[in-house]
Amino acid sequence: MSSTTPSTTAATVSRPGRAATRTTAAGRLRSLARAELTLLGRSKGTMFAAMFVPLVMPFSVRQAADGMDLDGTGLSIGSVVLPSAIGFSLLFAVYSALVSVYAARREELVLKRLRTGEVRDIEILAGSAVPSVAVGFAQCLILTGACVALLDVGAPDAPLHAVLGLLLAFALWPVLAAVTATFSRSVESAQVAAMPLLLVSFIGSGTLVPLEVMPDKLAAVCELLPLTPTIELIRGGWTGDMSASDALGAVVIAVAWIGVGVFAVRRWFRWEPRR
């Protein structure tokens, strides 16, 4: 009885009294995620950017990788392309898409309206993120499969690193999307607000150019960027030559970014349009 879910099925009983079924966090999340998934399906622009770009971009990286001097870096074309592909997926299908989603829901006063109800703040943000994260996750699986099949990357030598990197990324990028949405005043400007972090991540996080082929000093700075730990962990997962201390360092950086992001969201996230 107590496990009755507050979805549409629970609503089929008319209740004269007040002994109403309480909603659960899982039920609320499911309702929000379902609505958000419907909305994602109806937003052609977001769909295109989220679905198409991450699946096409790796081809250009593949071309670039052909021209790179990978000798002595311990990298193969596959271990360059695969983390890049996953990076693009995180940036476009998760991060960029969610910046738009958060901004759109805020501008339509959906966030404010939801906040008057039983849904908690974190559930609102998480529920809205579920479809994008799911798309991103599916893409990562597809891209990994494609790289394994087409680029001869083989099975990862240290799969735990790769999984860890991915999980941290799926926690981090929705948070960063919420932070970024704070800096936009409209759905249109949300994409502009997302640009700096997109560009920095392309250039500095080993998405286009592996850190291993960068000058040391530059690489040291780039290691601190939010996407870098994920790229490094995934690459390390496949090459198997990432030391435990390097892996730990990457995890610490990713966790630190999550911490900073959560703090920023709690402190500054705007739940309604600026008037």
């Binding site: 507050p6 979805s7 549409t8 629970a10 609503a11 089929t12 009983v13 008319s14 209740r15 007040r18 109403a20 079924t21 309480r22 909603t23 039920g27 609320r28 499911r30 309702s31 929000l32 379902r34 609505a35 419907t38 909305l39 109806r42 937003s43 759109a104 829901r105 339509e108 006063l109 959906v110 404010k112 309206r113 939801l114 906040r115 008057t116 109800g117 039983e118 849904v119």
Partner: protein, 332 residues
């Protein structure tokens, strides 16, 4: 005290930047009571309601809804209240039914979606996207979502703004029905008619303060009545009988038109008419007007634009020093 479903004590709300939208207001609403906050735009209605809804914390003062702090004890309050914001709040690309389904999943004890949409006359519009609804239909969807969980307390922020006359009347009937079944309703409006029609008690907000409060009768009684007429030719103000003895509390002369203010309308009018008969003059343009809610509201609203009138004996009017002296009163 426990009978009070809504208790507001010395509430203040300050926005970042320092603007104080709510400046120390207090009121209560009991179970099954419909309390209206009436005021012009910017009077502080929404700022007050948002705090009651638990969306923001007061800068000072206390707020209790169903005996709980709506901000700090949200779990105790939220499942028992329904909220309708002043505007919007639903994704424009979802259909009416999808929106209702989403809300039902987030609302404890949600009634069947179809039944709820039926109650607001949207049953036939279930498949329509929110963006294609008319303004009135959007308001009704909003109301339906506020009612989804059979709330004990309902907050309605300008529920009929944008509705046509028929829609407004239907909403009133719906709200009255809820109140009769024991739902406590807090309503904000800038429609006098709405407050007069629905409210058991009301407070007129002005610049963040309560300028007048009570039942409609109370509020009206706190306002002066007016007598106006044209001064007969050859007569001066001084020729009238002594005004204080007539119970007149203030007067003004514009051209030849005299306007008297009184809290004892019958006494003042009788005195004036007896004088006119005994003197043998005709009072042209005679207008004897009892106070009305509209007048009370207009007077308070005007203070925002015209400055404040000095009115001894009116504790209900918010005194605002530092304004230009009042010299003229709008004749309604």
């Amino acid at each position: 005290m426990t009978d009070q479903v809504i208790e507001v004590t010395d509430l203040r709300r300050r926005y970042t930047g320092g603007f104080e939208a709510v400046r120390g207001i207090s009121f209560t609403a009991g179970r099954g009571e419909l309390f209206a906050l009436l005021g012009t735009n910017g009077a502080g209605k929404t700022s007050t309601v948002e705090i009651l809804e638990g969306l923001a914390e007061p800068a000072a003062g206390t707020v209790r809804v169903l005996g709980h702090d709506p901000y700090r004890e949200r779990d105790a309050v939220r499942p028992r209240i329904g909220v309708m914001l002043q505007e919007g709040g639903f994704p424009s690309e979802l259909t009416v039914h999808e929106t209702a389904r989403m809300w039902a999943g987030c609302t404890s004890g949600a009634r069947p979606v179809g039944e709820t949409l039926e109650a607001v006359g949207l049953a036939a519009r279930g498949g329509v996207r929110v963006k294609q609804l008319s303004g009135g239909e959007k308001r009704r969807l909003d109301l339906a979502m506020a009612l989804l969980g059979d709330p004990e307390v309902l907050f309605l922020d300008e529920p009929t703004t944008g509705l046509d006359a028929e829609g407004r009347r239907e909403t009133w009937d719906l709200v009255r029905g809820l109140r009769d079944r024991g739902t406590t309703v807090l309503l904000t409006t800038h429609y006098l008619e709405e407050a007069e029609n629905l409210a058991d008690r009301l407070a007129i907000l002005h610049e963040g303060r309560i300028a007048a409060a009570g039942t409609v009768t109370d509020v009206v009684a706190s306002q002066p009545s007016h007598i106006s007429f044209d001064l007969p030719d050859g007569y001066h103000l001084g020729d009238l009988p002594p005004l204080p003895a007539l119970g007149v509390t203030g007067h003004e002369l514009r051209g030849r038109t005299v306007r008297l203010r009184t809290d004892a309308l019958q006494h003042a009018a009788t005195g004036l008419l007896v004088w006119a008969r005994e003197t043998g003059v005709e009072l042209r343009g005679l207008d004897v007007r009892a106070a009305s809610l509209e007048e009370a509201f207009l007077r308070i609203a005007q203070e925002a634009t015209r400055g404040h009138e000095e009115r001894p004996g009116s504790g209900a009017t918010a005194a605002r020093p530092g304004r230009n002296t009042y010299d003229e009163e709008k004749v309604a």
